[in-house]
Structure formats: C-alpha cells, structure tokens
C-alpha cells in the first residue's frame, strides 16, 4: 500500500510499504478515509522527537471504514464508519478505567525509552515515534487499530467525514484543556495558538460557559477563522503587547484559565526567542517554552495554566517563582480522547461544534509532502492539510 513516511529531518515522502495485518485478536484494520496533519507532527519533522527511523509511517488523527476485525472485536464490523483516538488505550488498566487514556499502562511497546526520559511511560500513539510504541501511522491506505473496541468510535450518520476526522485528536485535545483546566461559567480564558487545537480549546471554553475567550497568534488568517467560526476575541502578538491587552480585558486581574496550544517550537519576536534558539542548538534545552512562560506570567493569581502543546524534554528560564507565588495550578496532558469523543460527535451532529473550516487543504495522499510543507510554513493560509488516501 501507499503511505506517507518520515525519511529524515524535514523530509517526508509517499512510499510503498507492507499492508498492516491483524496481530492481536482485538485489532481491526481500517481503510483510512481521511487523515490530517497535526501540529504534533511538526515536532517529528523538525527532529524535536528523535526516536524515528527512516520509513516510519506518520499520521495519528484519522477516520475511515472498518474492513477487517479480529475475533475479540465485538463493537465493530466491516463496513462501519469510525473515528479513532490518536492515543491507544487498552481500556482495562487503572488509567484507562479512570478515563486517563493517554496514560495507558499496556500499550507502549518500548516503555524503557520514556521511563528513562520522563520517569514513566505514557500509552502508545499511532505514527508518533518509537518512544511512543512505534505504531504505524494513519497517513496510509490502511492502518491497524489495536484494542479496537475501545479506540475506534462509531460516527453518527449526521456527522460527515470531514467534521468527524477532527474528533480523533484536535477536538478532544481542546476540550480536555477547558475541562481539566477547570473552566467555569463567567471565566475569562486566554488561549495561545490559533491552530486547530487552540481553536478547539477556545470553542470548548465557550461551551463550558466562559464569558470571554481570547485567542493569541500572529497569523491573521488563523485569528480570522477563530473570530468567524466561533465569535472569539483575538490578539495578534505581532502588533499588540499581549500582557497589556489581557490586563485591559480583565480589569487588571489576568485570565482565570490560560491554555497553551503552541508547543515546543513556539515563536516570538523578543530576545528570548534568540536565547532559546541558541540554548536548543547547544542542547542545553530541548524545547522552547515561550508561550508557556507568557501564560504563567499573565495568568491571574490563583488561576490555572493548562499545557496542551507538546514538549519532549527540558526547558530553560521556567518561571517557577510565578507559579509558586501566584498560587497557580499548572497542568498538562496528552489527550484522553476516548473520554470525550462520543460527546464531541454528538455536539458536531447538533451543530454546536464545527470543524470543517480547519480543513483548509484536502489533498490526495500522494501530495503528502506538499501538504506538510504548506502546513509547516503556514503557506496559502493553511490551517490543516487533510489527506485522502
């Protein structure tokens, strides 16, 4: 079959790879309908997550049609239209049973790497490096889905493919930021990043009852999407002092909840950007936490900062003093999709959560490399490149 493979830093290519097979009795094989590039893939492309081998199939946010099921699969049959959570849960360990699916104990097949790096191994992910299990990704004609009863979720008829694909990863990630960030009615919420994840987090904050929600980015076309799709307020940090704008907006208090949806390649115009770039070139830090620092600095006393953006290792100039002295709650997580996907699909069906505007570029899989170039360089007003194998 054809699949989009990581071939080296900033080098992805469509190749012929072996078809997937059922390996465990609970697996299913999915014929991929749509599979979208995600901001997390950019961390693989740039080499921030070094545990890749040339030829690894990437992609983890996807939907499609079931074509084969293992003997233990009870909830799905060939022909079913399903969306698949990007993190693979077993459904039966302590973490899965407590709805913390990305922390699954039983799905990372290479636990030694992340245990050495982080002190414990999170669950496996599709197409996201050998540190996260080395599972083949979804930018392919077919993909194997382990523990399919838990990880594949039927799509209601009222939800079309292009809406549903975002229920795999970006929508539940955004929802988790608002939910576990503790957004309450009346809150002011600030979201850094107006990509798919940031927009989903901001919309989720609205649906949690936040009174004002503001999205921060530098790309006007992305901020315009946030305004038009959801009526969100926006700040372009290229033109406006973010801290001053947030203080003005909140009567000097600062936002109650700050959600970071940027990640380890954050950009900025200040001297800290050059500083972080030098430090990461010298291997003195692995990630650039620019938006995290800004979120912590601007959050109100006693507020919450939720880190949705992906970080892989150590950061520098972390404002621990602000966290401690302002009494902040700092939290982060990889997404617990299985917990939210059915509810999000219902909200999509009712029209409460729209996602199709995120798919600015729907391309054949063969144009995968071009799709990633558009997405990475934010060219042609690209928000997400979505591939149709």
């Amino acid at each position: 079959m054809r699949a989009l493979c990581w071939e080296g830093v900033n080098d992805v290519r469509v190749q012929d790879v072996p078809d997937p097979k059922i390996l465990n009795d609970g697996d299913l094989i999915l014929k991929v309908g749509l599979s979208t590039a995600c901001g997390s893939d950019l961390h693989l492309l740039t080499g921030h997550i070094p545990f890749m081998q040339a030829g690894d199939v990437i992609g983890h946010e996807f939907m499609g049609e079931v074509v084969e099921v293992g003997p233990d699969v009870t909830r799905h049959k060939p022909g079913d239209r399903v969306v698949v959570a990007s993190f693979i849960g077993c459904g039966q360990c302590y973490y899965c049973r407590n709805d913390l699916w990305s922390l699954c104990d039983n799905t990372n097949t290479n636990p030694g790497i992340t245990q050495a790096l982080w002190g414990a191994d999170p669950g496996g992910i599709f197409g996201y490096s050998h540190a996260m299990g080395g599972f083949k990704g979804s930018h392919a004609e077919y993909v194997r889905v382990p523990f399919a009863d838990h990880n594949a979720i039927a799509i209601p008829e009222a939800v079309d493919d292009l809406s549903a694909v975002f229920a795999s990863d970006s929508a539940p990630t955004g929802w988790m930021g608002a939910d576990l960030g503790g957004v309450r009615p009346g809150d002011v919420v600030a979201v850094w990043g107006s990509g798919a994840v940031g927009q989903m987090a901001a919309r989720s904050a609205q649906l949690h009852g936040a009174e004002r929600v503001v999205v921060i980015d530098r790309f006007d076309y992305r901020l315009r999407q946030a305004e038009n799709a959801f009526g969100l307020e926006t700040v372009n940090y290229e033109h406006v002092d973010v801290g001053a704008a947030l203080r003005e907006m909140t009567g000097g208090r600062g936002p109650d909840v700050c959600i970071e949806a940027v990640g380890c390649e954050a950009h900025s115009y200040g001297p800290q950007y050059a500083y972080d770039q030098v430090k990461s070139k010298l291997k003195l830090e692995t990630d650039r936490p620019i938006a995290v620092r800004e979120a912590i600095h601007n959050c109100r006393k006693g507020g919450t900062v939720f880190v949705l953006g992906v970080f892989s290792g150590v950061v520098d100039k972390f404002p621990l003093g602000a966290v401690m002295n302002k009494g902040l709650t700092l939290r982060g997580a990889q997404q617990h999709g299985q917990r939210y996907i059915p509810m999000l699909l219902d909200r999509m069906a009712s029209g409460e959560l729209t996602t199709t505007h995120l798919a600015t570029h729907v391309l054949p899989l063969e144009e995968g490399a071009r799709g990633y170039q558009l997405f990475k360089d934010k060219e042609d007003d690209c928000v997400r490149a979505v591939f149709r194998p």
């Binding site: 009795d25 070094p50 030829g55 039966q92 302590y94 050495a116 002190g119 496996g124 050998h130």
Partner: protein
C-alpha cells in the same frame, strides 16, 4: 546497548542524550551493587484475582522457582502489587522486567499488545542504532 545509546546520543538530539545518561546511570548504580531491590508492578485487579488461577501467566510462569515473588494489596484498593527478584544470576533483571510487564498486561487485558514489526523496510544507519536501543527497551526502565 551502551554503545548503541551513545550513538543515538551522538546524533546530537537532546532528549536522546538525556535517555542515554539515565540508562547509563542506572547501569552504573547496578554495578555498584545496588541491584538487589525488588522489581514491582501494580496490577489493577484485586489480590484474589491476581493470586488465583492463572497464577503468574506468561513468561512469569516460566521463571517460577527461579525468582522470589510477593503479592500485597495496593493501598486504597487500587489493585495488587506484585514484587519479584531473581534468586540467582540465571535470571536477568531485564528478563524479569519483561515478564512482570507481560504478566500485568495479560491479567488486565488478556493479551500483550504486539508492536508493528518490521516498523520500516529501510531504517537507515541512525534508524538501525535506534533499533538496537528499542530491542532492549522492553527490558529497561524504572520498574
């Protein structure tokens, strides 16, 4: 393994450097003779479910007699702690670690998830080094 870790580190990637250092530090600690602690996993099932049949499923069963095993309920009703230690040098701690993990997965899910292999047909030189690391990864870790 150590050489492989170093080679990955030499690709200059920070996270891999950290992993390499941690794994090396662990091995040094082991050489200093701090290797006698019990390896432990928590199985998210009650004590009687873990100690009843199938007692010690998977490769743990094959190690029977060559390892000491203890069971105790986890605090707060959060399952059962299974602790094991090799009786002699016949059983490596790496093999025991793999056996404990697989036993836990079998008791919780009835299966052990299989990796997508071969993950790639052309891993390249750096990928081959990483492969060597991955080959040992199941037996490594903090457990």
């Amino acid at each position: 393994m150590k050489a492989a870790m170093k080679a990955v580190a030499a690709t200059g990637v920070g996270a891999a450097v950290v992993v390499g250092r941690r794994m090396t530090a662990r091995r040094r600690a082991l050489r200093r003779g701090r290797s006698d602690h019990w390896l432990a996993v928590t199985v998210d099932r009650p004590l009687d479910a873990v100690t009843g049949p199938p007692r010690l499923p998977g490769p743990m069963g094959e190690l029977r007699g060559r390892v000491d095993v203890r069971f105790r309920p986890a605090p707060g009703g959060r399952g059962t702690e299974v602790l094991a230690v090799p009786k002699d040098d016949d059983v490596s701690r790496e093999d025991l670690r793999v056996a404990l993990r697989q036993m836990k997965s079998l008791l919780e899910t009835g299966t052990v998830i299989r990796p997508d292999t071969p993950s790639t047909t052309h891993p390249g030189p750096a990928g081959r080094v990483l492969r060597a690391v991955i080959g040992k990864s199941a037996g490594e870790g903090r457990l």
